[in-house]
């Protein structure tokens, strides 16, 4: 083959086709998603099953409307949780933890208690950085905020072996300040309880979470997909 324009044309069209197909079309389909109430209504305010309803006049399929006076989900992260997400990103938690629950019957996500329902595109619309993840060296974290207390999270981050024997998760002790207990003021109220075996110096030292640790735990406590979305009302 000798014709270069032909080569370039072909090369251009192949990549353009997948870009349009995968990126642009899904952007058209998903880019307009908004928070939704658990149930949507038609133009008259009657509840509908699922996301679309048929316009009685034109017969066209139209998007359902949010119910009045009902909270729409998801809501964006704010404050400490939002900053904590940045810590999560910087520490590379993404490479061991996914944030997506697959439907019941696909893998064991449901049976492991990682989520009561499948994650859907609408769950992620507020996230300026979506970290679905591709690896499960550790458990899925979509709903980890529902599973543990803040103390558990702090202990686990300080040294995962405290809560999980033999854990392969790295410790993030550098997010904590280990300092001598003040002689005048006594132990700090912010110090976290660490079991004796893992404590850097029981009775003398105390472990205080830094701002980043507190942000990160705030983020983890906010990881939950326990609200209902209209997508779930459709037969799967």
């Amino acid at each position: 083959m000798r014709s270069l324009p032909l080569l370039f044309l072909g090369v251009f069209f192949t990549i353009a086709s997948s870009w349009v197909g995968i990126v642009l079309v899904s952007n058209i389909q998903l880019g307009g998603l908004e928070p939704a109430t658990p149930e949507l209504t038609d133009a008259e305010g009657n509840p509908i099953a699922g996301v679309f309803f048929e316009d009685p006049e034109t017969g066209e399929m139209r998007l359902g409307l949010n119910q009045d006076g009902v909270e729409a989900w998801p809501v964006p992260l704010v404050g400490a949780a939002q900053r904590g997400k940045r810590v999560y990103e910087q520490m590379g938690c993404l490479y061991c933890h996914s944030q997506q629950v697959r439907r019941q019957g696909f893998g064991s996500d449901y049976e492991r208690g990682w989520g009561e329902r499948q994650s859907v595109a609408r769950d992620y619309i507020h996230q300026e950085r979506v970290m679905l993840g591709t690896m499960r060296t550790g458990p899925d974290l979509s709903n980890v905020g529902l599973r543990y207390s803040e103390l558990w999270q702090h202990q686990h981050l300080f040294n995962p072996k405290i809560t999980s024997r033999d854990s392969l998760m790295p410790r993030y002790a550098f997010l904590y300040e280990v300092r001598p207990i003040s002689e005048t003021r006594g132990p700090s109220p912010n110090a976290i309880e660490i079991p004796e075996d893992y404590h850097p110096g029981p009775g003398e030292l105390e472990v205080i979470p830094t701002q980043r640790a507190r942000d990160l735990v705030a983020y983890l406590m906010n990881l939950r997909q326990d609200y209902d979305l209209p997508e779930m009302r459709r037969e799967q």
Binding site: I15, S26, N27, Y95, Q100, S119, T134, D166, L168
Partner: protein, 494 residues
């Protein structure tokens, strides 16, 4: 402005070769010397750095306390530093070394304005240094394959612009009427990459798209860096090196046309198989699965072509370091691609997704296939550029055996470990309807495989050190004159 007219002229199928630039192969080699050596050395240094990161990350996977209190060396960062050093450092640099050199030889032209390329290359490497440091220092972006901090984007984009323009120019100077199949692959790759990179940077890092559209863009990009950049570079190089070393034309040129277009058509749709089961529209996944399965066509075509070219010349091939590495890579291209098509099937993916099987697969692709072919390319290229023979056959042998055996074992170990991990993760106890294995049990079961992976990593590291010594030794030698052994048949009789 004369540029557009000359560009179209260059692209015209009927353009006459301008004979003033026509060069002999040895002259082409000489004119590419600085570029080839520069990018080889940069790639080599990145290979060593990436190997170091790999070892640290691998040891940390079974021995979590290793460097456990260093934030800089925390696992999540070292892993990304490893990936980015290997891809943007090693793989890109070695591509910049080997592909344009083959291109120049096929164009039979004396190259000019090499400073444009060199300038781009220097900037590229500065960008990668800043990027890798940024990852370790905690400025990383949480998107796989795009971890470089956002401030690195302009540097890399600018650098690639210089490099890309020069490659187009190089092609414009060609003195031959025929455009060989390797050139299609290279030209396509140099065209595809900036498109991919620009789109991914804009839609993910700089103006993030809404929700999971980011994830779709992410895997469209990341898989296509493999499919539309590394793969065409390595397949193009193999299409040149195998027939060239053996002195036997490619088995079927006709098949190579089909193979090229099938790859161009299908590969760029395949990436979304990384999201099977995820919160993305089902039709995208179906399209990705179909494309992944269709990839069987170009893969089989390339496999037939390469195999039939080598067949009957195995003894001769074994005597050539280049052929050893390139054929190893070509065989693994077939294996990794067929495996990849299988992994895109829903039922297989359900097991392998989220496990070390995926890690096995990516090393199979980037190392067993791409990197091995590039090693072969360097073994062929450097003696010709430097007019010097490789100093040590023993080191070449050592490099070959350690990397070939090491990476094969690594891929097998991780595949087995990952498959078991997947089965255990998915197993459901039919009576209680709960997971049959506790998560911690599954995790613990992977540890022996992680240890074995580190051992295979040590083996590969030995190979890289041998390669490093051989290259540095070769560079520090004086150029061959009559007294030294002759470079590999570079200029017979000269």
């Amino acid at each position: 402005m004369s540029f557009p007219s000359t560009l179209t002229e260059a692209m015209s199928p009927t353009a006459e070769p301008k004979s003033d630039l026509l060069a002999k192969l040895s002259e082409v080699d000489r004119s590419m010397k600085v570029l080839g050596v520069f990018f080889t050395v940069c790639g080599l240094l990145w290979l060593m750095a990436g190997t170091l990161f790999a070892l640290v990350a691998s040891i940390k996977m079974h021995n979590v306390d290793f460097l456990g209190d260093s934030e800089f060396w925390t696992w999540g960062r070292v892993r990304s530093a490893h990936l980015n050093a290997m891809i943007y450092g090693w793989a890109f640099n070695v591509s910049f070394a080997v592909a344009p050199w083959i291109m120049a030889r096929l164009c039979r032209t004396r190259v000019r304005f090499t400073n444009i390329f060199l300038f781009g290359g220097i900037f590229w490497n500065i960008g990668v240094v800043i990027g890798v440091y940024g990852i370790l220092a905690g400025h990383k972006v949480g998107v796989e394959w795009l971890e470089f901090p956002a401030y690195v984007t302009p540097i890399l984009a600018l650098a690639f612009a210089f490099i890309g323009v020069w490659v187009i120019l190089l092609f414009r100077w060609r003195q031959t009427g025929h455009v060989y199949v390797s050139q299609w692959y290279f030209l396509a790759a140099f065209f595809w990459l900036p498109w991919l990179y620009a789109m991914a940077q804009i839609m993910i890092v700089h103006e993030p798209a809404r929700g999971v559209v980011q994830s779709l863009t992410n895997w469209w990009f990341a898989h296509n860096v493999l499919g539309l950049w590394l793969t065409p570079i390595a397949v193009g190089a193999a299409y040149y090196l195998i027939p060239k070393v053996l002195g036997r034309p490619i088995y079927s040129y006709y098949l190579s046309v089909i193979g090229f277009w099938a790859l161009a058509l299908f590969y760029n749709w395949a990436g979304v198989h990384h999201l099977i089961g995820g919160p993305v529209p089902a039709w995208v996944i179906s399209a990705g699965t179909v494309a992944s399965v269709m990839m069987v066509i170009p893969v089989i075509v390339v496999a037939i072509n390469h195999h039939m070219t080598v067949v009957g010349l195995h003894r001769e091939g074994w005597a050539s370091p280049t052929i050893r590495f390139v054929v190893f890579g070509a065989i693994n291209y077939t294996a990794v691609s067929l495996l990849g098509s299988a992994m895109a099937l829903r039922s297989v993916n359900e097991i392998t997704h989220f496990t070390h099987f995926t890690v096995s697969h990516s090393h199979h692709g980037v190392y067993s296939f791409f990197t091995m072919i590039m090693f072969g390319g360097i073994y062929y290229m450097l003696p010709r550029l430097l007019n010097r023979e490789w100093p040590s056959a023993m080191l070449i042998s050592l490099h070959w055996w350690t990397t070939a055996v090491g990476v094969t074992l690594m891929v097998i170990v991780l595949a087995i470990g990952g498959f078991i991990q997947g089965l255990q993760l998915n197993a459901i106890d039919p009576e209680t309807e709960t997971a049959a294995f506790e998560f911690l049990e599954v995790m613990r079961a992977t540890i022996p495989y992680m240890v074995m992976r580190s051992l295979t990593g040590v083996l590969i590291t030995i190979g890289h050190v041998a390669f490093f010594i051989n290259i540095i030794w070769m560079l520090s030698r004086r150029a061959a004159d009559g007294s030294e052994s002759k470079p590999t048949l570079l200029t017979p009789g000269a």
